[in-house]
Protein backbone atom coordinates (compact mmCIF):
# COMPACT_ATOMS: atom_id res chain seq x y z
CA UNK A 1 0.00 0.00 0.00
CA UNK A 2 1.79 3.06 -1.15
CA UNK A 3 1.74 5.89 1.35
CA UNK A 4 2.18 8.46 -1.32
CA UNK A 5 3.64 11.64 0.10
CA UNK A 6 2.82 14.48 -2.21
CA UNK A 7 5.97 14.39 -4.21
CA UNK A 8 5.86 17.60 -6.14
CA UNK A 9 7.53 17.48 -9.57
CA UNK A 10 10.92 18.09 -7.98
CA UNK A 11 11.08 18.08 -4.28
CA UNK A 12 13.65 19.63 -2.10
CA UNK A 13 14.79 23.16 -2.17
CA UNK A 14 17.44 24.34 0.17
CA UNK A 15 17.06 23.01 3.67
CA UNK A 16 14.42 20.36 3.05
CA UNK A 17 15.64 17.54 5.27
CA UNK A 18 16.00 14.09 3.68
CA UNK A 19 13.17 11.84 4.88
CA UNK A 20 13.61 9.20 7.50
CA UNK A 21 17.05 10.32 8.83
CA UNK A 22 16.32 12.05 12.18
CA UNK A 23 19.92 12.69 13.24
CA UNK A 24 21.17 14.72 10.23
CA UNK A 25 24.27 16.58 11.31
CA UNK A 26 23.65 20.28 10.94
CA UNK A 27 20.65 20.51 13.40
CA UNK A 28 21.82 21.75 16.84
CA UNK A 29 20.88 19.54 19.76
CA UNK A 30 18.27 21.90 21.23
CA UNK A 31 16.15 21.98 18.08
CA UNK A 32 12.90 20.04 18.62
CA UNK A 33 12.04 17.38 16.01
CA UNK A 34 8.93 19.04 14.65
CA UNK A 35 10.65 22.30 13.67
CA UNK A 36 12.36 22.66 10.30
CA UNK A 37 14.93 25.23 11.32
CA UNK A 38 16.15 26.76 14.57
CA UNK A 39 14.82 30.12 13.42
CA UNK A 40 11.34 28.70 13.06
CA UNK A 41 11.58 27.34 16.61
CA UNK A 42 12.87 30.65 18.00
CA UNK A 43 10.17 32.65 16.21
CA UNK A 44 7.43 30.26 17.33
CA UNK A 45 8.42 30.32 21.01
CA UNK A 46 8.85 34.10 20.96
CA UNK A 47 5.41 34.53 19.38
CA UNK A 48 3.91 32.09 21.91
CA UNK A 49 5.40 34.14 24.76
CA UNK A 50 3.84 37.31 23.37
CA UNK A 51 0.44 35.61 23.16
CA UNK A 52 0.81 34.48 26.76
CA UNK A 53 1.59 38.08 27.73
CA UNK A 54 -1.65 39.11 25.99
CA UNK A 55 -3.57 36.81 28.32
CA UNK A 56 -1.80 38.51 31.23
CA UNK A 57 -2.77 41.94 29.83
CA UNK A 58 -6.43 40.88 29.76
CA UNK A 59 -6.11 39.27 33.21
CA UNK A 60 -4.88 42.53 34.77
CA UNK A 61 -7.33 44.37 32.48
CA UNK A 62 -10.26 43.13 34.53
CA UNK A 63 -8.68 44.54 37.69
CA UNK A 64 -7.91 47.87 36.04
CA UNK A 65 -11.53 48.15 34.82
CA UNK A 66 -12.82 47.60 38.36
CA UNK A 67 -10.27 50.13 39.72
CA UNK A 68 -11.23 52.75 37.11
CA UNK A 69 -14.94 52.51 37.92
CA UNK A 70 -14.62 52.61 41.69
CA UNK A 71 -12.11 55.45 41.57
CA UNK A 72 -14.68 57.53 39.67
CA UNK A 73 -17.48 56.53 42.03
CA UNK A 74 -15.64 57.11 45.34
CA UNK A 75 -12.92 59.62 44.45
CA UNK A 76 -12.61 61.29 47.92
CA UNK A 77 -12.28 57.89 49.63
CA UNK A 78 -9.63 56.84 47.09
CA UNK A 79 -7.67 60.06 47.65
CA UNK A 80 -7.72 59.70 51.43
CA UNK A 81 -6.85 55.99 51.27
CA UNK A 82 -4.02 56.55 48.80
CA UNK A 83 -2.48 59.00 51.25
CA UNK A 84 -1.93 55.99 53.49
CA UNK A 85 0.58 54.70 50.95
CA UNK A 86 4.09 55.99 51.28
CA UNK A 87 5.21 57.63 48.03
CA UNK A 88 8.84 57.16 48.99
CA UNK A 89 8.53 53.38 49.20
CA UNK A 90 6.51 53.40 46.01
CA UNK A 91 9.04 55.44 44.07
CA UNK A 92 11.90 53.35 45.44
CA UNK A 93 10.10 50.21 44.32
CA UNK A 94 9.59 51.67 40.86
CA UNK A 95 13.30 52.51 40.76
CA UNK A 96 14.19 48.97 41.85
CA UNK A 97 11.96 47.41 39.24
CA UNK A 98 13.21 49.62 36.40
CA UNK A 99 16.79 48.76 37.38
CA UNK A 100 15.89 45.07 37.40
CA UNK A 101 14.40 45.52 33.94
CA UNK A 102 17.66 47.06 32.84
CA UNK A 103 19.77 44.27 34.31
CA UNK A 104 17.44 41.72 32.72
CA UNK A 105 17.83 43.38 29.33
CA UNK A 106 21.60 43.36 29.79
CA UNK A 107 21.31 39.69 30.72
CA UNK A 108 19.59 38.99 27.41
CA UNK A 109 22.35 40.89 25.64
CA UNK A 110 25.04 38.88 27.44
CA UNK A 111 23.29 35.64 26.49
CA UNK A 112 23.07 36.73 22.84
CA UNK A 113 26.75 37.63 22.81
CA UNK A 114 27.66 34.45 24.70
CA UNK A 115 29.12 36.14 27.81
CA UNK A 116 28.63 33.56 30.54
CA UNK A 117 29.99 35.66 33.41
CA UNK A 118 28.09 38.74 32.25
CA UNK A 119 24.90 36.67 32.10
CA UNK A 120 25.51 35.26 35.58
CA UNK A 121 26.07 38.78 36.96
CA UNK A 122 22.97 40.22 35.33
CA UNK A 123 20.71 37.39 36.38
CA UNK A 124 21.91 37.56 39.98
CA UNK A 125 21.47 41.36 40.01
CA UNK A 126 17.95 40.96 38.68
CA UNK A 127 17.30 38.30 41.34
CA UNK A 128 18.54 40.60 44.11
CA UNK A 129 16.53 43.56 42.84
CA UNK A 130 13.44 41.35 42.62
CA UNK A 131 13.93 40.26 46.22
CA UNK A 132 14.44 43.92 47.21
CA UNK A 133 11.14 44.78 45.58
CA UNK A 134 9.35 42.06 47.52
CA UNK A 135 11.09 43.20 50.70
CA UNK A 136 9.80 46.73 50.29
CA UNK A 137 6.36 45.33 49.56
CA UNK A 138 6.39 43.34 52.80
CA UNK A 139 7.35 46.49 54.69
CA UNK A 140 4.39 48.32 53.18
CA UNK A 141 2.03 45.39 53.80
CA UNK A 142 3.27 45.16 57.38
CA UNK A 143 2.50 48.82 57.90
CA UNK A 144 -1.05 48.25 56.59
CA UNK A 145 -1.31 45.26 58.93
CA UNK A 146 -0.48 47.41 61.93
CA UNK A 147 -2.97 50.09 60.97
CA UNK A 148 -5.71 47.51 60.45
CA UNK A 149 -6.05 48.51 56.83
CA UNK A 150 -6.25 44.91 55.63
CA UNK A 151 -9.69 44.67 54.00
CA UNK A 152 -12.01 42.12 55.59
CA UNK A 153 -10.00 41.59 58.79
CA UNK A 154 -11.72 44.04 61.20
CA UNK A 155 -10.79 46.93 58.92
CA UNK A 156 -10.57 50.19 60.88
CA UNK A 157 -11.85 53.50 59.53
CA UNK A 158 -10.29 55.38 62.39
CA UNK A 159 -7.55 56.99 60.35
CA UNK A 160 -10.12 58.37 57.88
CA UNK A 161 -12.83 59.50 60.26
CA UNK A 162 -10.30 61.33 62.39
CA UNK A 163 -7.21 62.01 60.22
CA UNK A 164 -5.50 64.00 62.96
CA UNK A 165 -4.84 60.76 64.81
CA UNK A 166 -2.97 59.33 61.80
CA UNK A 167 0.37 60.94 60.92
CA UNK A 168 0.22 59.84 57.26
CA UNK A 169 -3.15 61.54 56.77
CA UNK A 170 -2.20 64.50 58.95
CA UNK A 171 0.80 65.17 56.67
CA UNK A 172 -1.60 65.90 53.82
CA UNK A 173 -4.01 67.79 56.07
CA UNK A 174 -6.88 65.53 55.03
CA UNK A 175 -10.29 66.64 56.25
CA UNK A 176 -12.20 63.91 58.10
CA UNK A 177 -14.37 61.84 55.77
CA UNK A 178 -18.02 61.22 56.65
CA UNK A 179 -18.73 57.61 57.56
CA UNK A 180 -20.39 56.59 54.29
CA UNK A 181 -17.44 57.84 52.24
CA UNK A 182 -14.87 56.49 54.72
CA UNK A 183 -16.47 53.05 54.33
CA UNK A 184 -15.40 52.95 50.71
CA UNK A 185 -11.71 53.22 51.57
CA UNK A 186 -12.01 49.49 52.29
CA UNK A 187 -12.81 49.06 48.58
CA UNK A 188 -9.63 50.98 47.73
CA UNK A 189 -7.53 48.75 49.94
CA UNK A 190 -9.11 45.64 48.50
CA UNK A 191 -8.21 46.77 44.98
CA UNK A 192 -4.73 47.79 46.27
CA UNK A 193 -4.09 44.35 47.78
CA UNK A 194 -5.71 42.55 44.82
CA UNK A 195 -3.59 44.39 42.22
CA UNK A 196 -0.27 44.62 44.07
CA UNK A 197 -0.83 41.11 45.49
CA UNK A 198 -1.40 39.66 42.00
CA UNK A 199 1.64 41.62 40.81
CA UNK A 200 3.73 40.33 43.73
CA UNK A 201 2.59 36.79 42.93
CA UNK A 202 3.89 37.26 39.39
CA UNK A 203 7.14 38.61 40.85
CA UNK A 204 7.52 35.54 43.08
CA UNK A 205 6.98 33.23 40.09
CA UNK A 206 9.50 35.32 38.10
CA UNK A 207 12.09 35.17 40.88
CA UNK A 208 11.66 31.40 41.18
CA UNK A 209 12.28 30.99 37.44
CA UNK A 210 15.27 33.38 37.78
CA UNK A 211 16.77 31.11 40.43
CA UNK A 212 16.34 28.13 38.11
CA UNK A 213 17.94 30.09 35.25
CA UNK A 214 20.92 31.13 37.37
CA UNK A 215 21.62 27.46 38.17
CA UNK A 216 21.32 26.51 34.48
CA UNK A 217 23.38 29.55 33.39
CA UNK A 218 26.22 28.54 35.70
CA UNK A 219 26.29 25.28 33.77
CA UNK A 220 26.64 27.35 30.61
CA UNK A 221 23.17 26.67 29.31
CA UNK A 222 22.16 29.93 27.70
CA UNK A 223 25.39 31.01 26.12
CA UNK A 224 25.61 28.39 23.37
CA UNK A 225 23.38 30.19 20.88
CA UNK A 226 20.08 28.95 22.35
CA UNK A 227 18.82 32.19 23.92
CA UNK A 228 15.04 31.73 23.63
CA UNK A 229 14.57 30.85 27.32
CA UNK A 230 16.37 33.98 28.52
CA UNK A 231 14.65 36.12 25.90
CA UNK A 232 11.18 34.86 26.80
CA UNK A 233 11.82 35.30 30.49
CA UNK A 234 13.03 38.82 29.70
CA UNK A 235 9.70 39.55 28.00
CA UNK A 236 7.84 38.25 31.05
CA UNK A 237 9.97 40.31 33.43
CA UNK A 238 9.54 43.50 31.41
CA UNK A 239 5.79 42.88 31.30
CA UNK A 240 5.66 42.61 35.10
CA UNK A 241 7.63 45.87 35.23
CA UNK A 242 5.11 47.60 32.95
CA UNK A 243 2.22 46.43 35.16
CA UNK A 244 4.01 48.00 38.14
CA UNK A 245 4.57 51.25 36.24
CA UNK A 246 0.78 51.56 35.82
CA UNK A 247 0.05 50.36 39.35
CA UNK A 248 2.41 52.97 40.76
CA UNK A 249 0.82 55.73 38.67
CA UNK A 250 -2.76 54.70 39.51
CA UNK A 251 -2.49 53.62 43.16
CA UNK A 252 0.20 55.84 44.64
CA UNK A 253 0.01 59.08 42.73
CA UNK A 254 -3.60 60.22 43.16
CA UNK A 255 -3.30 63.98 43.92
CA UNK A 256 -0.39 64.05 46.40
CA UNK A 257 -0.54 67.85 46.61
CA UNK A 258 -1.56 69.50 49.92
Amino acid sequence: MSDSPIAGPAHGHGALAEAGDPHHGEHPSYQRHHFETVDQQADATNFAMWLFLLTEVMFFGGLFTAYLIYRNWYYPAFVAASHQLDVRWGSLNTLVLILSSFTMAMGVWCSETRRRNGLMLCLTLTFILGMAFLGIKTIEYHEKWEKHHIPGLHYSLQSFLDPASDEAAAKYGDSPLPLDMARHTELYFFLYFAMTGMHALHMIIGIAILGFMIVRARAGAYTNGHVTFVENFGLYWHFVDIVWIYLFALLYLISRHQ
Partner: protein, 356 residues
Protein backbone atom coordinates in the same frame (compact mmCIF):
# COMPACT_ATOMS: atom_id res chain seq x y z
CA UNK B 1 -57.57 2.76 17.50
CA UNK B 2 -61.10 2.25 18.62
CA UNK B 3 -60.31 3.06 22.27
CA UNK B 4 -57.98 5.90 23.34
CA UNK B 5 -56.57 5.38 26.84
CA UNK B 6 -58.03 7.85 29.34
CA UNK B 7 -54.64 9.33 30.18
CA UNK B 8 -53.94 10.15 26.56
CA UNK B 9 -57.51 11.46 26.16
CA UNK B 10 -57.16 13.77 29.18
CA UNK B 11 -53.82 14.92 27.80
CA UNK B 12 -55.30 15.74 24.39
CA UNK B 13 -58.24 17.60 25.93
CA UNK B 14 -55.90 19.68 28.05
CA UNK B 15 -53.76 20.32 25.00
CA UNK B 16 -56.75 21.37 22.84
CA UNK B 17 -58.43 23.59 25.43
CA UNK B 18 -55.65 25.95 26.49
CA UNK B 19 -53.41 25.88 23.45
CA UNK B 20 -51.82 29.27 23.15
CA UNK B 21 -48.92 30.52 21.07
CA UNK B 22 -48.37 33.71 23.03
CA UNK B 23 -49.71 35.26 26.23
CA UNK B 24 -52.78 37.59 26.18
CA UNK B 25 -52.01 41.17 25.12
CA UNK B 26 -53.04 42.91 28.31
CA UNK B 27 -51.02 46.12 28.12
CA UNK B 28 -50.59 48.95 25.65
CA UNK B 29 -47.04 47.95 24.71
CA UNK B 30 -47.97 44.27 24.19
CA UNK B 31 -49.43 44.61 20.67
CA UNK B 32 -46.49 46.78 19.56
CA UNK B 33 -43.96 44.23 20.83
CA UNK B 34 -45.95 41.40 19.28
CA UNK B 35 -45.94 43.25 15.98
CA UNK B 36 -42.12 43.38 16.04
CA UNK B 37 -41.98 39.76 17.21
CA UNK B 38 -44.14 38.51 14.34
CA UNK B 39 -42.24 40.65 11.84
CA UNK B 40 -39.10 38.85 13.00
CA UNK B 41 -40.83 35.45 12.85
CA UNK B 42 -41.91 36.27 9.32
CA UNK B 43 -38.43 37.34 8.23
CA UNK B 44 -36.93 34.25 9.86
CA UNK B 45 -39.43 31.96 8.19
CA UNK B 46 -38.72 33.51 4.81
CA UNK B 47 -34.98 33.26 5.36
CA UNK B 48 -35.26 29.67 6.58
CA UNK B 49 -37.47 28.58 3.70
CA UNK B 50 -35.09 30.18 1.20
CA UNK B 51 -32.16 28.26 2.67
CA UNK B 52 -34.10 24.99 2.95
CA UNK B 53 -35.56 25.28 -0.57
CA UNK B 54 -32.12 25.97 -2.03
CA UNK B 55 -30.52 23.09 -0.12
CA UNK B 56 -33.25 20.63 -1.09
CA UNK B 57 -33.33 21.81 -4.70
CA UNK B 58 -29.55 21.65 -5.11
CA UNK B 59 -29.47 18.24 -3.38
CA UNK B 60 -31.96 16.87 -5.85
CA UNK B 61 -30.69 18.64 -8.97
CA UNK B 62 -27.00 18.08 -8.33
CA UNK B 63 -26.95 14.72 -6.59
CA UNK B 64 -24.16 12.43 -7.74
CA UNK B 65 -26.39 10.30 -10.00
CA UNK B 66 -27.90 13.28 -11.78
CA UNK B 67 -24.76 15.43 -11.93
CA UNK B 68 -21.67 13.22 -11.56
CA UNK B 69 -19.10 15.82 -12.63
CA UNK B 70 -19.01 18.89 -10.30
CA UNK B 71 -18.35 22.28 -11.89
CA UNK B 72 -15.88 24.29 -9.84
CA UNK B 73 -17.15 27.81 -9.13
CA UNK B 74 -14.93 30.32 -7.35
CA UNK B 75 -17.75 32.54 -6.05
CA UNK B 76 -19.43 35.76 -7.02
CA UNK B 77 -18.92 39.08 -5.25
CA UNK B 78 -22.39 40.17 -6.40
CA UNK B 79 -24.02 37.30 -4.49
CA UNK B 80 -21.76 37.92 -1.51
CA UNK B 81 -22.86 41.56 -1.52
CA UNK B 82 -26.54 40.67 -1.70
CA UNK B 83 -26.45 38.29 1.26
CA UNK B 84 -24.49 40.77 3.27
CA UNK B 85 -26.54 43.88 2.53
CA UNK B 86 -29.99 42.29 2.75
CA UNK B 87 -29.50 40.58 6.16
CA UNK B 88 -27.74 43.71 7.44
CA UNK B 89 -30.64 45.87 6.25
CA UNK B 90 -33.24 43.60 7.82
CA UNK B 91 -31.30 43.38 11.09
CA UNK B 92 -30.94 47.18 11.24
CA UNK B 93 -34.70 47.57 10.77
CA UNK B 94 -35.20 45.19 13.69
CA UNK B 95 -32.58 47.09 15.69
CA UNK B 96 -34.29 50.47 15.24
CA UNK B 97 -37.78 49.07 15.86
CA UNK B 98 -36.54 47.17 18.94
CA UNK B 99 -34.74 50.20 20.33
CA UNK B 100 -37.91 52.31 19.96
CA UNK B 101 -39.89 49.78 21.98
CA UNK B 102 -37.07 49.46 24.51
CA UNK B 103 -36.99 53.22 25.14
CA UNK B 104 -40.78 53.33 25.30
CA UNK B 105 -40.89 50.62 28.00
CA UNK B 106 -38.05 51.96 30.12
CA UNK B 107 -38.89 55.67 30.03
CA UNK B 108 -41.85 56.17 32.39
CA UNK B 109 -44.30 58.98 31.55
CA UNK B 110 -44.63 61.86 34.02
CA UNK B 111 -48.25 61.15 34.94
CA UNK B 112 -47.63 57.54 35.93
CA UNK B 113 -48.91 56.21 39.27
CA UNK B 114 -45.86 55.02 41.16
CA UNK B 115 -45.85 51.66 42.93
CA UNK B 116 -42.75 50.54 44.79
CA UNK B 117 -41.83 46.86 44.49
CA UNK B 118 -39.24 45.33 46.81
CA UNK B 119 -37.85 41.93 45.86
CA UNK B 120 -36.70 39.75 48.71
CA UNK B 121 -35.51 36.17 48.65
CA UNK B 122 -38.43 34.46 47.40
CA UNK B 123 -41.25 37.02 47.68
CA UNK B 124 -42.38 40.23 46.03
CA UNK B 125 -43.66 43.09 48.22
CA UNK B 126 -45.60 45.79 46.41
CA UNK B 127 -46.28 49.10 48.19
CA UNK B 128 -48.92 51.45 46.87
CA UNK B 129 -48.59 55.16 47.71
CA UNK B 130 -51.90 54.89 49.59
CA UNK B 131 -50.26 52.48 52.03
CA UNK B 132 -51.67 49.21 50.65
CA UNK B 133 -49.08 46.43 51.01
CA UNK B 134 -49.27 43.33 48.85
CA UNK B 135 -47.21 40.13 48.99
CA UNK B 136 -46.74 38.28 45.68
CA UNK B 137 -49.59 40.15 44.08
CA UNK B 138 -50.17 43.48 42.36
CA UNK B 139 -53.51 45.21 41.78
CA UNK B 140 -53.47 47.81 39.02
CA UNK B 141 -56.24 49.81 37.31
CA UNK B 142 -56.75 49.77 33.55
CA UNK B 143 -56.14 52.86 31.46
CA UNK B 144 -53.72 54.42 33.96
CA UNK B 145 -49.94 54.31 33.34
CA UNK B 146 -48.37 52.51 36.29
CA UNK B 147 -44.66 52.96 37.00
CA UNK B 148 -42.94 50.30 39.08
CA UNK B 149 -39.86 51.34 41.04
CA UNK B 150 -38.03 48.12 41.78
CA UNK B 151 -35.30 47.33 44.26
CA UNK B 152 -34.03 44.11 45.80
CA UNK B 153 -33.02 43.53 49.39
CA UNK B 154 -30.59 40.71 48.71
CA UNK B 155 -29.84 39.20 45.30
CA UNK B 156 -30.89 39.86 41.70
CA UNK B 157 -34.56 39.22 41.06
CA UNK B 158 -36.49 40.04 37.93
CA UNK B 159 -40.08 41.29 37.97
CA UNK B 160 -41.71 39.77 34.90
CA UNK B 161 -45.31 40.03 33.71
CA UNK B 162 -45.51 38.07 30.41
CA UNK B 163 -49.05 39.29 29.66
CA UNK B 164 -47.81 42.90 29.71
CA UNK B 165 -44.54 41.92 27.84
CA UNK B 166 -42.75 43.76 30.61
CA UNK B 167 -39.73 42.68 32.68
CA UNK B 168 -37.20 44.51 34.81
CA UNK B 169 -34.40 43.28 37.02
CA UNK B 170 -34.65 44.21 40.70
CA UNK B 171 -31.06 44.98 41.70
CA UNK B 172 -29.82 45.35 45.29
CA UNK B 173 -28.52 48.86 45.88
CA UNK B 174 -30.24 50.73 43.08
CA UNK B 175 -33.73 51.63 41.85
CA UNK B 176 -34.72 50.37 38.44
CA UNK B 177 -38.03 51.27 36.89
CA UNK B 178 -40.41 50.02 34.27
CA UNK B 179 -43.91 51.18 33.37
CA UNK B 180 -46.96 49.76 31.66
CA UNK B 181 -50.59 50.65 31.04
CA UNK B 182 -52.90 47.71 31.59
CA UNK B 183 -55.75 47.45 29.08
CA UNK B 184 -57.56 44.14 29.73
CA UNK B 185 -58.98 43.36 33.20
CA UNK B 186 -58.08 39.87 34.42
CA UNK B 187 -55.54 37.95 36.46
CA UNK B 188 -52.14 37.37 34.91
CA UNK B 189 -48.93 35.59 35.90
CA UNK B 190 -46.15 37.34 37.78
CA UNK B 191 -42.75 35.55 37.66
CA UNK B 192 -39.28 36.10 39.09
CA UNK B 193 -37.13 35.25 36.06
CA UNK B 194 -33.61 35.87 37.45
CA UNK B 195 -32.33 32.81 39.32
CA UNK B 196 -32.30 33.81 42.98
CA UNK B 197 -31.71 30.67 45.01
CA UNK B 198 -33.65 27.70 46.32
CA UNK B 199 -37.26 28.86 45.98
CA UNK B 200 -36.75 30.84 42.79
CA UNK B 201 -39.70 28.98 41.28
CA UNK B 202 -41.96 29.86 44.23
CA UNK B 203 -41.39 33.59 43.82
CA UNK B 204 -44.45 33.94 41.62
CA UNK B 205 -47.74 35.77 42.01
CA UNK B 206 -50.73 37.32 40.32
CA UNK B 207 -51.19 40.66 38.67
CA UNK B 208 -54.87 41.58 39.02
CA UNK B 209 -56.07 44.21 36.55
CA UNK B 210 -59.25 45.93 37.67
CA UNK B 211 -61.45 48.53 36.05
CA UNK B 212 -60.83 51.99 37.57
CA UNK B 213 -63.80 51.95 39.92
CA UNK B 214 -63.19 48.33 41.01
CA UNK B 215 -59.64 49.47 41.71
CA UNK B 216 -60.92 52.31 43.93
CA UNK B 217 -63.11 49.81 45.80
CA UNK B 218 -60.10 47.54 46.23
CA UNK B 219 -57.95 50.47 47.44
CA UNK B 220 -60.53 51.49 49.98
CA UNK B 221 -61.11 47.93 51.07
CA UNK B 222 -57.52 47.07 51.71
CA UNK B 223 -56.02 50.18 53.30
CA UNK B 224 -53.80 49.11 56.17
CA UNK B 225 -53.46 52.22 58.24
CA UNK B 226 -51.08 54.94 57.16
CA UNK B 227 -50.31 55.82 53.58
CA UNK B 228 -46.74 55.40 52.47
CA UNK B 229 -46.14 59.12 52.83
CA UNK B 230 -47.52 59.15 56.36
CA UNK B 231 -45.27 56.24 57.19
CA UNK B 232 -42.44 58.24 55.76
CA UNK B 233 -43.37 61.23 57.82
CA UNK B 234 -43.27 59.15 61.00
CA UNK B 235 -39.84 57.81 60.04
CA UNK B 236 -38.71 61.34 59.09
CA UNK B 237 -39.54 62.44 62.60
CA UNK B 238 -38.31 59.35 64.46
CA UNK B 239 -34.92 59.44 62.68
CA UNK B 240 -34.87 63.15 63.65
CA UNK B 241 -34.29 64.21 60.06
CA UNK B 242 -36.24 67.31 60.94
CA UNK B 243 -33.45 68.33 63.30
CA UNK B 244 -31.63 69.69 60.25
CA UNK B 245 -34.20 69.67 57.45
CA UNK B 246 -36.68 72.18 58.84
CA UNK B 247 -37.86 75.67 57.97
CA UNK B 248 -35.79 77.55 60.55
CA UNK B 249 -33.58 80.15 58.87
CA UNK B 250 -30.46 78.64 60.45
CA UNK B 251 -31.39 75.10 59.31
CA UNK B 252 -28.25 73.00 58.81
CA UNK B 253 -29.85 71.00 55.99
CA UNK B 254 -31.63 72.23 52.81
CA UNK B 255 -35.42 72.54 53.01
CA UNK B 256 -36.99 69.52 51.35
CA UNK B 257 -40.19 71.22 50.20
CA UNK B 258 -40.74 70.71 46.46
CA UNK B 259 -37.23 69.26 46.18
CA UNK B 260 -38.49 66.27 44.11
CA UNK B 261 -37.86 66.99 40.43
CA UNK B 262 -35.99 70.23 41.20
CA UNK B 263 -32.61 71.00 39.62
CA UNK B 264 -29.92 71.00 42.32
CA UNK B 265 -26.25 71.96 42.18
CA UNK B 266 -24.08 69.82 44.45
CA UNK B 267 -21.08 70.98 46.44
CA UNK B 268 -18.92 69.51 43.65
CA UNK B 269 -20.62 71.91 41.21
CA UNK B 270 -22.42 69.07 39.48
CA UNK B 271 -26.03 69.84 38.43
CA UNK B 272 -28.54 67.02 38.82
CA UNK B 273 -32.33 66.56 39.00
CA UNK B 274 -33.57 65.18 42.33
CA UNK B 275 -35.33 61.93 41.32
CA UNK B 276 -36.11 58.80 43.36
CA UNK B 277 -32.59 57.40 42.94
CA UNK B 278 -31.00 60.69 44.05
CA UNK B 279 -33.21 60.89 47.16
CA UNK B 280 -32.33 57.30 48.08
CA UNK B 281 -28.64 57.82 47.48
CA UNK B 282 -28.54 61.01 49.52
CA UNK B 283 -30.15 59.14 52.45
CA UNK B 284 -27.69 56.25 52.28
CA UNK B 285 -24.54 57.96 50.93
CA UNK B 286 -25.07 61.62 51.88
CA UNK B 287 -21.48 62.82 51.63
CA UNK B 288 -21.52 62.50 47.83
CA UNK B 289 -24.80 64.42 47.49
CA UNK B 290 -24.30 67.57 49.56
CA UNK B 291 -26.20 70.53 48.11
CA UNK B 292 -24.05 73.57 47.50
CA UNK B 293 -23.71 75.87 50.47
CA UNK B 294 -24.27 73.21 53.15
CA UNK B 295 -21.73 71.49 55.39
CA UNK B 296 -21.26 67.73 54.78
CA UNK B 297 -22.44 66.77 58.27
CA UNK B 298 -25.32 64.46 57.37
CA UNK B 299 -24.64 60.97 58.81
CA UNK B 300 -25.34 57.90 56.66
CA UNK B 301 -28.47 55.90 57.48
CA UNK B 302 -27.16 52.76 55.79
CA UNK B 303 -28.19 49.85 57.97
CA UNK B 304 -30.47 51.92 60.18
CA UNK B 305 -33.42 52.03 57.81
CA UNK B 306 -34.75 49.14 55.70
CA UNK B 307 -35.51 49.38 52.00
CA UNK B 308 -39.20 49.82 52.81
CA UNK B 309 -38.23 52.64 55.20
CA UNK B 310 -36.22 54.39 52.49
CA UNK B 311 -39.15 53.98 50.12
CA UNK B 312 -41.50 55.51 52.69
CA UNK B 313 -39.10 58.44 53.24
CA UNK B 314 -38.71 59.00 49.49
CA UNK B 315 -42.48 58.91 49.05
CA UNK B 316 -42.90 61.39 51.89
CA UNK B 317 -40.33 63.80 50.46
CA UNK B 318 -41.92 63.48 46.99
CA UNK B 319 -45.29 64.58 48.43
CA UNK B 320 -43.88 67.42 50.50
CA UNK B 321 -45.18 70.51 48.72
CA UNK B 322 -44.92 72.86 51.72
CA UNK B 323 -42.94 73.05 54.91
CA UNK B 324 -46.17 73.07 56.89
CA UNK B 325 -45.93 69.38 57.63
CA UNK B 326 -42.33 69.57 58.83
CA UNK B 327 -43.13 72.59 60.98
CA UNK B 328 -46.00 70.64 62.56
CA UNK B 329 -43.91 67.61 63.32
CA UNK B 330 -40.83 69.59 64.37
CA UNK B 331 -42.26 70.84 67.61
CA UNK B 332 -44.18 67.66 68.45
CA UNK B 333 -41.70 64.84 68.15
CA UNK B 334 -38.39 66.46 69.12
CA UNK B 335 -38.44 65.43 72.72
CA UNK B 336 -41.68 63.57 73.14
CA UNK B 337 -41.48 59.77 73.48
CA UNK B 338 -43.04 57.77 70.69
CA UNK B 339 -46.43 57.15 72.32
CA UNK B 340 -47.24 60.77 73.07
CA UNK B 341 -45.84 61.80 69.76
CA UNK B 342 -48.53 59.74 67.98
CA UNK B 343 -51.24 61.11 70.28
CA UNK B 344 -50.16 64.62 69.39
CA UNK B 345 -50.08 63.60 65.77
CA UNK B 346 -53.67 62.29 65.94
CA UNK B 347 -54.75 65.70 67.01
CA UNK B 348 -52.85 67.26 64.11
CA UNK B 349 -54.03 64.88 61.39
CA UNK B 350 -57.46 66.44 60.58
CA UNK B 351 -56.00 69.87 59.72
CA UNK B 352 -52.81 68.95 57.84
CA UNK B 353 -53.36 66.78 54.69
CA UNK B 354 -50.58 64.81 53.17
CA UNK B 355 -51.96 63.79 49.79
CA UNK B 356 -51.47 59.99 49.43
Amino acid sequence: MNQISPVLWQFLVKWMTNFALFPPEASKIAPQMDALFFFMVLVSLIGLTIVLLLVVAFSILYSKERHPQAVQIEGSTLLEATWTIIPLGLFLIMFVWGALIYFRVYTPPANAMNIYVVGKQWMWKAEHPGGQHEINSLHVPTGQPVQLTLISQDVFHSFSIPAFRVKREAIPGRYTTVWFEATMPGTYHLFCTQYCGTNHSQMIGDVVVLSPDDFKKWLAGSTSGDSLAQNGERLFASLSCNACHNIRPDARGPSLANVYGAKLTLSTGQAITADDAYLRESILNPSQHITQGYAPIMPTYQGQVSEEGVIALVEYIKNLNSDYRIQQTTNTTDLLPESEGSAARQQLKPQGKVNP
